[in-house]
């Protein structure tokens, strides 16, 4: 009986020690504001994970794409069942061909946007996403050894993706523009009105316009404004307005933006290293 009591007491002590250790870590990291010791350990963790992520992505990407397509296009279900017998024989080959085609399409779009906006870029593959449901980031297979630096803008074939927030030797983490902590100076192409585009963790971003009386319409395109020599070059396509309610106050107006980029199926991205002499399209009209 005494032994059992001792054991129960020890377990409680262990719990207390682990809780105190967790609170100590929270305090140290909170005070360090992203520059504490855990940031460096995080780099090591990402470096250890990256080869495994590479392998898993190569093996499971076709399966993941299959599931993504399955949930997005329910209408395909009937067609698939009708062709099931034929598909069964060719499935392995067909999967790899479809994957190559999709990859090819993605790379062609990347080359297109790079040439259209005269950007000096570096290509990278997306090898992972944040494990949290409260954070919208992706991991790419380029790091400081390839010349990646913090705050480098990242684009995909359809438009702006986000910016680099953490750089390890061989991998980096990119903050997507739909994350809660993302903010991008943007401009509505049709009216020239500017504002700050912020994410809220969902697939839709919000644009807070500086002029509450701005004339806008659903379907208007939004591009980066490049305001005050910001992080992002001007004219990069961001998205379209999907909802434009009237201003709630006299100071600003918030509209909803559907980004051009499908963040759930990012394969390849371009990191903007610099910009060549020619300037980008001022209206962003060549965008998708």
């Amino acid at each position: 009986m005494i032994r059992m009591f001792d054991r129960s007491k020890r377990v409680r002590w262990l719990l207390v020690i682990l809780i105190v250790a967790s609170l100590a870590i929270i305090t140290i990291d909170y005070r360090g504001k992203g520059n504490g010791p855990f940031e460096k350990i995080g780099h090591v963790a990402l470096t250890v994970l990256s080869p495994i992520q590479h392998g898993l992505v190569a093996i499971f990407r076709p399966i993941g794409n299959f599931f993504a397509g399955f949930t997005e296009v329910p209408g395909l279900r009937a067609r698939v069942s009708a062709l099931q017998r034929q598909v069964a024989e060719l499935r392995a080959g067909e999967n790899s061909v479809a994957e190559v085609q999709r990859e090819n399409e993605s790379l062609r779009k990347l080359l297109g946007i790079r040439d259209r906006y005269n950007l000096d870029t570096m290509a990278a593959q997306v090898i992972g996403v944040s494990p949290s449901n409260f954070e919208r980031t992706v991991f790419i297979d380029r790091g400081s050894r390839s010349g990646v630096k913090k705050d480098m803008p990242v684009i995909a074939g359809d438009g702006l993706v986000g910016r680099v927030i953490q750089v390890g030797p061989t991998t980096s983490e990119v903050l997507l523009l739909i994350d809660r902590s993302s903010a991008v100076a943007s401009r509505v192409v049709s009216s020239g009105e500017t504002g700050l585009l912020e994410g809220d963790g969902s697939e839709i971003a919000r644009l807070e316009l500086f002029n509450p009386d701005a004339t806008l319409a659903v379907g208007d395109r939004v591009v980066t404004s490049g305001y005050d020599r910001g992080l992002f070059p001007p004219g990069i396509p961001v998205g379209t307005i999907v909802s434009a309610p009237p201003a709630q106050s006299n100071l600003s107006r918030v509209v909803k933006i559907q980004p051009f980029v499908d963040f759930s199926s990012l394969d390849y991205v371009l990191l903007i290293v610099g910009q060549t002499a020619a300037s980008p399209s001022p209206t962003g009209s060549a965008a998708p």
């Binding site: 682990l18 963790a45 898993l56 409260f134 953490q166 903050l175």
Partner: protein, 170 residues
């Protein structure tokens, strides 16, 4: 034997994180990802009791924190408490049914997501109440679906490295 169990926790953390960030990052359930490491913590807690459950929670939570931008330590705190509570609750159940792991995983994931978001809110991170509730419900459902596949593997591995009675310190 202790170092073997420590190694097991490290390997489970690395494998779980690699799957969470690659495979399950793409194969989402209506946009939500599962909490694979939390599922593993519940499996360890139910199989090995509150002490090893809390330890597993701390190690796996800290591993998760290292790849997140949100303040480090919050996942460690959340998973530690869950590992301990699950181990305690399991010891009170006299005749556990086959459904118990799925119920425990679902409830633990739901409460874990709420606690994680709530604690981050105290630290100044703001999440919308509806988006937190949505993430908690969907992650809980996703983890419930994964339980029959993940739970037996983790439980078997933990049981295989279970220390003999004489070695048990806690």
């Amino acid at each position: 034997m202790i170092w073997k169990r420590t190694l097991l926790l490290v390997l489970l953390s690395i494998t779980g994180l690699a799957f969470e960030t690659s495979v399950f990052g793409r194969a989402t359930l209506v946009g939500a990802k599962p909490e694979l490491l939390l599922l593993m913590v519940v499996a360890v807690g139910m199989s090995e009791g509150p002490a090893f459950g809390a330890t597993a929670g701390f190690v796996m939570g800290l591993s998760t924190d290292l790849v997140l931008q949100l303040p480090a330590g919050v996942s460690a705190l959340t998973f530690t408490i869950i590992g301990y509570v699950v181990g305690r609750v399991r010891s009170q159940v006299q005749a556990p049914g086959a459904w118990l792991p799925m119920v425990m995983v679902s409830v633990a994931t739901f409460l874990g997501e709420l606690f994680y978001a709530g604690f981050n809110r105290v630290l100044g991170e703001h999440f919308g109440a509806l988006s937190v509730l949505r993430a908690a419900v969907l992650a809980s459902a996703y983890n419930c679906l994964l339980t029959p596949f993940v739970f037996p593997i983790v439980r078997a591995l933990a049981a295989r490295l279970r220390p003999r009675a004489a070695e048990v310190g806690l």
